[in-house]
Amino acid sequence: MVPCIQASDVTLTFRPKDREAVTAINGLTLEVARGEFVSIVGPSGCGKSTFLNVLLGLLKPDKGEIQLNGKRISGPGEERAMVFQEFGLLPWRTVLANVELGLELKGVAADTRRKRARGLIELVGLTAFENHYPHELSGGMKQRVGLARALVTEPEVLLMDEPFAALDAQTRDLMQTELLQIWDRAKKTVIFVTHSIEEAAYLSDRVVIMSARPGKVKEVLRIGLPRPREYEMRLSPGFNEIKSRIWSTLKEELVTRIGGDGAQR
């Protein structure tokens, strides 16, 4: 069977005009099965977000390619949607209008998209706020809108770029649980970039650990915890063991990165 996502030897170098070229990812190869929840962790600047942007179709690799259902990704497409770390809500649009965005850009008729957007707003529990503007919402609410906006076009693949990093710890825990419920129901393929080892371990089927820049896959760890995941699992010795395995792999890279950075500056 063809994997949902197949990234082969993806390499991308940024060439800013007035600075040295930086190779963000170098020979990244990864396969993700349909319906799988995969997290990517790695040191800062290892190209996690760059990889997501290539997946999204906003960046083109210099070498290698990513296939989605056997077809090469060459630009944004409706099978993929992103949830952004800084939310990326349009401040001049109400919650409802923000969620409608993707459908609007696809040319869906106004009443249909309103109906579908309302459905998603209900799913993320914001029905009472559909006419509010983003600045009137808390961080957690904003990211619910971000999630609803990504889901409304019914993408197969949900890309999440540190979606909960800007939230406080409790809101974050809550959002993780809700995300798992939504994922369980909607059966999306999720690629989830995070800095948090705990988050990666709790949410994922597999955790991809990336090397320091230029990033590539260093190790892939299968998380054997049963589904559905329960919050209490985080307190179990097994969970701690998973965390410490991820941590020990990651630590080597952090040391590399700090050393590398020191040499560069």
Binding site: P76, M82, L90, P91
Partner: protein, 262 residues
């Protein structure tokens, strides 16, 4: 206590009104009871008010106002229609920026009213010359503010629209235009002031009617109360325009109101 609370609630309009009225009273009092100045040089508010009443009731000023407003509105509208797209284009296309920026910067910095005599030569004494002058003065605030607005547009939002399949045109309409709206209002404020200068200078130079012409005619004939009355009309118009703009912004950009309060 209740009275005190109500005062604090409306402190701003109360103090503003008191200070304006106080200013005129002080002026009146100084010129009638304290110093005696030759009325040839200075006049007092009561006489200006009487002159204003005469001008409006007599109907003489209406014609001048209509003439000046027409030139202003044509020139200002042209500035909006030309300035905003030009500024947006410059902000979004680097080559356009590099090509156009030297000219626009030089023109914006120069006292364009100096061109008034030339424009009168080219377009004659009449509506066209004034419209062109107003346009030239008012267009640059729109160009540069639209440009600055585009430059400050959040790249993340552009990427969001792109990621959902948005095309160039969607980025213009759904991200850039709403982003630059507050910049446009700020630009319009500056443009109003500059446009009024254009009208007045144009009419000082060569005209047979209009507010600027009226001011210069009253000045030439030493009719100070009438002259002050005409200047006052201009000031009131400028304030009304600027305040109207602020109201318009609140209607067009309701998301800004809450943000500013924070």
């Amino acid at each position: 206590m209740a009275l005190r609370d109500r005062y604090y609630e409306h402190q701003r309009p109360i103090l503003g009104t008191v200070s304006v009225i106080g200013f005129f009273l002080l002026w009146e009092w100084l010129l009638t009871s304290v110093v005696t100045v030759d009325p040839f040089f200075l006049t007092q508010p009561s006489k200006v008010a009487a002159a204003a009443k005469e001008l409006f009731l007599g109907g003489a000023i209406w014609q001048d106002l209509a003439v000046s407003s027409k030139a202003f509105l044509w020139g200002f509208s042209a500035a909006v229609i030309v300035g905003i797209p030009t500024g947006v284009f410059m902000g979004w296309r680097r080559r356009a920026e590099y090509t156009l920026d030297p000219f626009f910067t030089a023109l914006y910095a120069s006292p364009l009213v100096a061109l008034a005599p030339l424009l009168i030569i080219i377009f004659g004494v009449g509506l066209t010359g004034k419209v062109v002058l107003v346009f030239l003065l008012a267009v640059f605030p729109f160009i540069f503010n639209a440009f600055a607005g585009v430059k400050s547009t959040d790249r993340l939002l552009v990427n969001v629209v792109r990621s959902f399949g948005g095309k160039e045109k969607d980025i213009y309409w759904k991200v850039i235009l709403p982003s630059i709206l507050p910049y446009m209002v700020a630009g319009a404020r500056i443009a109003i002031g500059r446009g009024i200068v254009g009208i007045i200078v144009g009419e000082f130079y060569a005209a047979s009617e209009g507010i600027g012409f009226a001011i210069s005619r009253f000045g030439d004939t030493y009719r100070l109360p009438e002259m002050f009355a005409a200047i006052l009309v201009l000031m009131i118009l400028a304030v009304v325009f600027t305040e109207g703009l602020r109201k318009l912004e609140n209607v067009l950009a309701p998301w800004k109101i809450g943000q500013e309060a924070r």
